[in-house]
Symmetry: C2
Subunit: 241 residues, 2 copies
DNA sequence: GTCTATACATAGATAGAC
DNA sequence: GTCTATCTATGTATAGAC
């Protein structure tokens, strides 16, 4: 199992990913041109950056629902009237943030895995990429998790689909590796579940790891090593799980 | 490592714990007698059950902040005026729910561990007890996690202290077992963190496990087996984590 | 103890001046 | 494109009848 190709530090990942807030907002603008009243792209992008940063910051503190649009005005520096030129309602703002995030996760993960040959290589790559990405977009990941339950039925379905999508990536890799005999996972479904749990802990408890000076590389290393233990060792133990 | 004493199924735990909503509300009433206007204990307890059930249900769907007191009236069957005889404001309602939950977790965990002799026994017991308890009080655990960020500074500190308290229990048990040479955990701090992450997954994603027919006993077994792999095996591998 | 009716503040959203 | 002023709905909270 050669994993050397995977070991990339966070800074390199950051440069390679090129996911600045401006890039993201430009993409959002182009995707939603019909619903946004502003016509000059550069003006729109500049203000969208302000709006999304302010929204993520306020929501992290008190939740999206509890954030009033007046607070959003103060934090973003725009007026009420201006805000409504960028979205037709609070719902649309929520919607855009969630959708764009999902698009990014899907794209980045799939591209990363495609470069790998072995199942173990793909698995470690997926783990590390997910953790680095959630570090880069920590506020969005946190937001996305916390607001998922407050959605309308349609959007809730989309959120659940997204949760299951990433989990499925890990499940598939576990089963693929089982077939290859690269490793032997006794219970791939539950293993994929706790993999997700470990990945989520990084962005849900960011404050904790910051306080303890745990770097993102350390956390990724630890998770990968933990998974290695589980998928390499369980096969020798009882099989009735 | 004899773990036989720990293997208790959920139904037995449930009976032993005797944590009916009524019991909990009675305790809440007694703790807050000075702040609750109702003087007849039985009347108060009966309505507190309605209020808390309604609050947990509505909050699970849309969040505590987004839940209006009018909705709470409908769901609980009480009127606005009546509600305000039980708490002096929405904040107090939030406060009571969080505090009472913490008290229960602390008490149940500590009592369970006290019965065990070995570190591994205590550890598996703590894991199983936590998972069973979070199954029994799933709505409260979910609520508590989701609302933690929406609190005033003081309450936020209390929430963080509570999060770290349970984590500390696991950390202490890991280090105790290291000293005893019952096992060897390379990185107890990070190990305790991901233990918490796995425990939280059970009540944060209850819908997922329900859909897949994973029982609470199965999940507890899986988590314990996973931890066994990590703490028994890591010691043979690289130590630079 | 519980209800209905109501006060008062703040929310989201829009109109129209600039 | 952006601002200020304002509309209407809804929120929390209270008063007073029963």
């Amino acid at each position: 199992m050669n994993t050397v190709s995977q070991i990339e530090d966070f800074e390199r990942f950051k440069k390679r990913a090129a996911l600045s807030m401006e890039e993201i907002c430009r993409e959002i603008y182009r995707e939603n041109r019909d619903r946004i009243r502003i016509k000059k792209e550069n003006v729109a992008v500049k203000n969208l950056v302000k709006i999304f940063n302010a929204t993520l910051a306020l929501s992290a503190r008190k939740g999206f629902q509890a954030m009033s649009l007046r607070e959003l005005c103060n934090e973003s520096g725009l007026s009420m009237g201006a805000l409504y030129a960028y979205f037709i309602g609070k719902d649309m703002l929520l919607d855009i943030i969630l959708m764009q995030g999902r698009r990014i996760v899907k794209k980045v993960l799939e591209e990363a895995i495609a470069l790998e040959k072995t199942s173990w290589g793909k698995l470690t790559c997926a783990l590390r990429t997910h953790i680095y990405l959630s570090e880069l977009l920590q506020e969005w990941f946190f937001f996305s998790f916390m607001e998922a339950k407050n959605l309308s039925r349609d959007r809730q379905k989309a959120a659940i689909a997204s949760e299951l999508f990433t989990e499925k990536i890990f499940l598939d890799l576990l089963e693929e590796g089982n077939k290859n005999r690269e490793y032997a996972v006794v219970n791939p479904v539950l293993t994929a579940s706790i993999i997700k749990a470990m990945l989520q802990d990084w962005y849900l408890k960011r404050w904790k790891y910051r306080k303890r000076n745990v770097s993102v590389e350390q956390y990724a290393d630890f998770v990968i090593e933990t998974i290695r233990c589980i998928i390499a060792v369980v096969k020798k133990k009882n099989r009735n799980l």
